[in-house]
Every structure is written in structure tokens, then in C-alpha cells.
């Protein structure tokens, strides 16, 4: 059980680094939501280890990292984790390209929830929904493949 987290947490560390990694201006607009994608992956492959609580804690870290209102990403990632747990048995049957389309929708929902709650709390939010979702969907097959091989290598 603990062994799994030894693999899961470092992948989230990498995702958090990628989330703030400096990139060219244009790429910034389609920066994939690495943390959300990593969460989806772990919920997908081991739903008994990764879940809402993991989403909540990673969301808190992401909040501090981005300087957002504390709890904003925590709430959105928890909802995302819940959605994935509902969808995971269906999603496992898809190939990665089909999953990519679903990722587009899921990340879009996650960003939408974040945008809504942010605009309720602070009066204005980051309304960039489309391009980060597209970026995430495009990167998904690669990221999925990478995480999958990591998982198999460490047998987590």
C-alpha cells in the first residue's frame, strides 16, 4: 500500500514542476493541466489508492503554488477525481486517443468548475478553458504512456 504512494507522489511532484515550468509565451496558452492529468491517470489505473482525498491534497499544493485562493483547485480536483471514479470502468476500455477526447471534456469541466468558484469567491476568474483542455488532450497519450511504463517498472 505504502509502496504505491512512493511512486504516486513523485509523479505528482513532476506534474507540479511542469505546472510552473517557464515556457515560451505561445505555449503558455495551451499549457496542459499536468496535475489534473496525473490525478486522472492514477484514479484510472488504481482507483482504490488514488481518489478524492489525493485530489484534494494535490489541489491544496497547486493552490499555494499558483497563489490562488486556498481550496480553489482542491475543490475542483476533488470533483474531478469523483467524476473519474464514476467514469473509470468505461474509460479503461477506450484506447488512448479515445481517452484523449474524454480528457478534453474532463479537463474542460475541471477548468469550468474552477472558473465558476473563483468568480463567485473573488469576483473574477481565469476564463481560459478551451486551449488548456486542447493541450491536455493532445499530451494525454504521451503522458499516459509515460506514467504507465513508470507504474509497470516500479510495479506500483
Amino acid at each position: 500500500m505504502m509502496r504505491a504512494y512512493v511512486v504516486i507522489l513523485p509523479t505528482f511532484f513532476v506534474a507540479l514542476v511542469l505546472a510552473v515550468f517557464p515556457m515560451a509565451d505561445l505555449l503558455n496558452y495551451i499549457r496542459p493541466e499536468w496535475v489534473a492529468m496525473t490525478l486522472i491517470f492514477w484514479v484510472l489505473v488504481s482507483p482504490n489508492k488514488a481518489g478524492i482525498f489525493l485530489g484534494f491534497s494535490m489541489g491544496l499544493l497547486l493552490d499555494v503554488l499558483h497563489g490562488d485562493t486556498l481550496g480553489l483547485n482542491a475543490l475542483s480536483l476533488s470533483i474531478l477525481a469523483y467524476l473519474c471514479m464514476l467514469l473509470q470502468s468505461r474509460m479503461r476500455l477506450y484506447n488512448t486517443v479515445q481517452q484523449g477526447f474524454l480528457i478534453f471534456v474532463l479537463i474542460g469541466l475541471y477548468l469550468l468548475i474552477r472558473f465558476w468558484s473563483e468568480s463567485i469567491i473573488t469576483g473574477q476568474g481565469k476564463s481560459a478553458l478551451l486551449w488548456p483542455s486542447v493541450g491536455s488532450a493532445l499530451v494525454w497519450p504521451l503522458w499516459y504512456g509515460l506514467l504507465f511504463s513508470v507504474r509497470r517498472y516500479f510495479r506500483a
Binding site: V20, L65, L70, G71
Partner: protein
Amino acid sequence: MLADQYLAPIASVRSTLGYLIVPVQWVSSIPGRLGLWAEESAMSHSSLLEDNNRLRLESLVLKQKVQQMIALRAENNRFRELLNTSEQLDDKILVAELIGVDPDPYTHHIIINKGASHGVFVGQPILDAQGLMGQVIDVLPYTSRVLLVADSNHAIPVQVNRNGVRAIAVGSGRLDELNLIYVPDTADIKVGDELVSSGLGSRYPKGYPLGEIIKVEHDPGQPFAYVKAKPSAYLDRSRYVLLVFSMESELPKAVAIQEPES
């Protein structure tokens, strides 16, 4: 989330989580530091010598100016005493290094390598060698987040150096542009005027340069003049920034007493 907005103890949760974030920020700043290191170590001997000479000359000139400053400051303080204002011009300053830029393309935040453990506080003004850059909005143990003046959520009270006309400079979301809002058509503002912080609102200290007016347009259809300024700080280039600890954040009395302009 509501708790973060309205409860104070959450700040300690945030700063505790801040410790966990330190390695993430450190790793993500590696490429930048690597680039700087490569640049420094690949520099030729002659260009280093050249740099050294230039800096020595510059330091000489600055030292001469400081000598002048001492006399001027004493004189200034005497005059201020005559005017019964207790404002000091001296501010304490801490140098910080920029370690990150917020990846969100819709905001202009930077991350600096000084935090709560160095005495940084929320609302603290940040300068670079050319002028005002912004203010601290979020303090973590070892880093803090700075809102730049060019962010569209940022506004700063300014005055024109030439005649003291007051205005509010709002960020435009572009790094090379600020908008002056609520400027009457009759206000005496011209292209090329220097803007300095006015110290009103008691957040920024008085008298630091902010920018230069680059465009003034009078549109008869609009209630106010359309004024644009260019920030004098190198918002996208400065690597080292100065944190100002202004002990006296007192309102400049002479300005505060005047009637606000209609």
C-alpha cells in the same frame, strides 16, 4: 475557500504548505539558473575586465552623487521640519532575486526568493533600478509572489513630476503599457511627462519613478482624456529587485490637505 477569504488562521496553513512547495519552485527554476551560470562562466576575460572598469567608473560617479545627497538630504529634512512634516526620505532596502514568473498568460506575477523569514510582508513595494515594479501579494516562508504594476488588477496613485497633477495608473495587462484613468480633459499632462508615485493610499512610498507618458488623446465623445504611460522599470528583464521597507508610510500632508480635483 470562504475560510481563506475571511479567516486569519488559514494563513498559517498556507505558509506550512509553502514549505512543501519549496522544492517544486527550486526545480522549476533550474533551467533559468543554468542559463545564467553558463552565460557567466562562458564570458571572456576581456569582457569581464571591461565590465569591471565600467562598474568602477559607475561606482565613482554614484559615490560623488551620494556625497551631494547627504548635504541635500540634510537640507531637505531642515525644510521639512520648517513645514512641520515628519516624513523621512530614507527607506530600508533588501535585494531579492527573481526566481520565477507565473505561467498564467493572463496575469503578471513574479516569484522572488525572499519570503516571510526575511521579513517580507503583504503589500510591500518592489522596485528595480529604474522604477517601481509592483507589490507583494502573497508571502510564503522562503519565496513571495509579486503583482506587477502592469497587471490589469493593479492600480497605483501617481502624480506628474513636473506639476504634481494626480492620477491613477492602472495596469493594462501588457508589460509595456499603463493607463491613466479619470484624467480630466483639462489636466496639464503632456507626452514625455515623468510619473512618480504620490504616496496616497499609503501603500507605495512617495516619490519613486513609475513611468513616462507616451500618449495623450482628447476625444470629445469621452468624459475623460485617454492617457497612456510606459513603465520605467524593466518589468520583463530585471533579475534583481529591491524590496522597500518604508518605516513612515504616512500620507504626505501637504497633498492630503488640498481639495481633490473635480
